[in-house]
């Protein structure tokens, strides 16, 4: 199986879907010849040309709105937002228009629309407060949207294909810090279904629920903790909405312990949502409190020393897991 980076896997998914279905096209800023801010569309312009790889003006709102309109009229647009943070400019079109269109029109239409957004912090090359946010819960809380965040090249490709083939608006988050991470990706056409979590590491003393970069941090924590006899089960949610609760609950019912980890801010964030679900469904199985690891309620600083204190680190996961075992 070829070894590809997360970035290459995404690009391949785009290319294959563009080839497979003439209704698929991409629009976004500097995605043509330039290949996108992170190079995700590099080469696509040469193969598919300006009609299907559409450079846009810097107008996030019309980008999202026009994509939605084209979806209502039968196309399958894939939008690239240069940074997830900038989708704030398109928030109305995404949450008030796209998310609700099918519902408010009583099922008259479908909205096959994917909005790709790089999210999360880079640390080694930070760009500050509006280039590093985890915007997951700007969207998870909105009925009608699906939200995806892959952690590996395999999942990235398979999930993106599912997203493009889905008839709903899908917010497809890509973690910037994972773009260069490599992994095995099959040559054959495959999809990873939306709404199905994946156990990235099997273990039986504590479940860690995470997504994106935090999955890798959890796997690192697992290595540290293995020496202490703590055997982590790491669940990569992959799709943040609809959520695969069953995989989480089954794991917790097996391990009797859980830590929820999310890169977003603690208040109003997704870690709390996952934790509350675990408590609600698995209270009687739990042998300790659910650990809660999230970013502090502080904007993400430009300075990386400060940034490290704001965002969850491997050590925070390790500490939280220990605490579920009654250790200080």
């Amino acid at each position: 199986m070829p070894n590809l980076t997360y970035k290459e896997a995404i690009k391949d998914a785009l290319a294959e879907e563009l080839r497979r279905d003439s209704a698929v096209f991409i629009m976004g800023e500097d995605i043509g010849l330039h290949g996108g801010a992170f190079g995700l569309t590099k080469g696509l312009f040469a193969e598919f040309g300006p009609d299907r790889i559409k450079d846009t003006p810097i107008s996030e709102s019309i980008i999202a709105g026009a994509a939605l309109g084209s979806a209502l009229a039968g196309m399958r647009p894939v939008v690239e937002m240069m940074f997830g943070d900038f989708s704030a400019l398109a928030y109305d079109q995404i949450v008030n228009a796209a998310a609700k269109a099918r519902f408010q029109f009583g099922g008259q239409c479908k909205t096959p629309l994917v909005i790709r957004m790089p999210v999360g912090a880079l640390s080694w090359k930070s760009a500050g407060v509006v280039h590093c946010q985890s915007v997951d819960n700007w969207y998870v809380q909105i009925p009608g949207l699906k939200v995806v965040l892959p952690a590996t090249p395999y999942d990235a490709k398979g999930l993106l294909k599912s997203a493009i083939r889905d008839d709903n608006p899908v917010i497809f988050l890509e973690h910037k810090a994972l773009y260069e991470v490599a992994g095995d990706v099959p040559d054959e056409d495959y999809v990873v279904p939306l709404g199905v979590a994946d156990i990235k590491r099997s273990g039986d003393t504590c479940t860690v629920v995470a997504c994106g970069k935090m999955v890798h941090f959890a796997l690192e924590a697992a290595v540290t903790l293995a020496d202490e006899g703590i055997d982590l089960e790491v669940i990569d949610l992959r799709t943040l909405k609809p959520l695969d609760e069953e995989t989480v609950f089954n794991s917790v019912r097996k391990t009797h312990r859980a830590v929820v980890v999310h890169e977003g801010h603690r208040s109003g964030g997704l870690a709390a949502d996952w934790g509350m679900r675990i408590y609600t469904e698995c209270l009687d199985w739990l042998d300790g409190p659910v650990g809660w690891v999230a970013a502090k309620d502080v904007p993400i600083p430009y300075n990386d020393g400060l940034e490290k204190r704001v965002l969850p680190q491997v050590a925070d996961i390790v500490a939280a897991v220990r605490k579920t075992h009654g250790e200080a």
């Binding site: 709102s61 999202a64 709105g65 994509a67 084209s70 029109f105 008259q108």
Partner: protein, 323 residues
């Protein structure tokens, strides 16, 4: 000048009455508390814009509409029964009671829907035009927008995208001079300088008397033909008047009753068109009476249908969230 067949003129006449009767019926139901749902915005006074544009479009062309959109839907060919049923939040409504007056769509006749957020439907219509251009069809897309909507940035973004991509869009500005209580002349600088704005964006511009259905129709035909021929987008600046308050029952502290009365008297698009029809010998009094009667009966039937229709089954609340 385009040639308007007698049949077309009569269809226009019917459509204008259909819209007016529909609006007045909705007002009546609203006042009686039967349509006790949400803000309902009357387009009485603006029938010529909806009609002139609507009848210039093919059924497979697209429109997007606004909070004041019943006329747009009817002129595009929507079923008055299903439209009224939607206003009454009934299961037989176009949106099965989920959307209501400000969110009614009729995809079967090319309506991408009304959008309650001011300006929100404009980019969506641009997107539909993009889709048609990409598919190589000759369908065009006509977003309706109020002059207040010119305050929304996304409308400007829409003008730009339609222009630089040369999309088959006809932007129809219903310039009634007001937004709720606010004078657009004072609060929306470009609303009275739309020719300059169009020039800045490279949009074809036509300013017309929006109370003159024939003028609107001719300008719309021209703009639509250009769009269909791949000659790019146009902006249709239709000066019009809102006869009623912003919504049914709105107190109108910002204008006097006399002012409103004068507007109704001087700028009635239907009266204007009746004169035209007589002067051009296009319809006899009796013919007009019959058409008017037919419109009125259609609306009565729609109201009866809507009132008799059942509510959506509460247990179905979760439908249509996802496809």
């Amino acid at each position: 000048m385009v040639d308007l067949s007698g049949d077309l003129l009569l269809r226009m006449y019917y459509t204008m009455w259909l819209i007016r009767d529909f609006e007045n019926k909705a007002a009546e139901l609203f006042m009686k508390g039967i349509l006790a749902k949400g803000g309902v915005h009357s387009s009485v006074g603006q029938e010529a814009v909806a009609t002139g544009v609507g009848l210039a479009l093919r059924q497979d062309d697209w429109i997007s509409s606004t909070h004041r959109g019943h006329g747009h839907q009817l002129a595009k060919g929507a079923d008055p029964r299903r439209l009224m049923a939607e206003l009454l939040a009934k299961d037989a409504g176009y949106c099965r009671g989920r959307g209501g007056s400000m969110h009614v769509a009729a995809f079967e006749v090319g309506s991408l829907g009304a959008y309650a957020v001011v300006g929100e439907g404009v980019p969506i219509a641009v997107g539909a035009a993009l889709a048609e251009a990409m598919k190589g069809s000759d369908r065009v897309s006509a977003p309706f927008l109020g002059d207040g909507a010119l305050g929304q940035g996304v409308v400007h973004e829409s003008f730009n995208l339609a222009s630089v991509w040369q999309l088959p869009v006809v932007f129809v500005v219903e310039r009634n001079g007001i937004a709720v209580s606010t004078s657009c002349d004072r609060m929306v600088a470009p609303s009275t300088r739309l020719a300059d704005l169009a020039r800045a964006y490279g949009l074809r511009y036509r300013g017309v008397d929006g109370q003159d259905v024939v003028a609107v129709h001719e300008a719309a035909r021209e703009a639509i033909a250009a769009a269909r021929a791949g000659q790019g987008p146009s902006l249709l600046d239709c000066k019009t008047y809102r006869f009623e308050g912003h919504y049914y029952g709105e107190p109108q502290v910002y204008r006097s009753r006399e002012e409103t009365e004068a507007v109704r008297r001087m700028h009635d698009p239907i009266a204007h068109f009746e004169t035209y029809l007589s002067e051009h010998g296009a319809a006899r009094q009796e013919e007009m009476r019959e058409i008017r009667q037919r419109a009125s009966e259609t609306v009565e039937d729609a109201a009866r249908f809507a009132q008799a229709s059942p509510e959506p089954e509460p247990a179905t609340y979760g439908e249509y969230v996802y496809a």
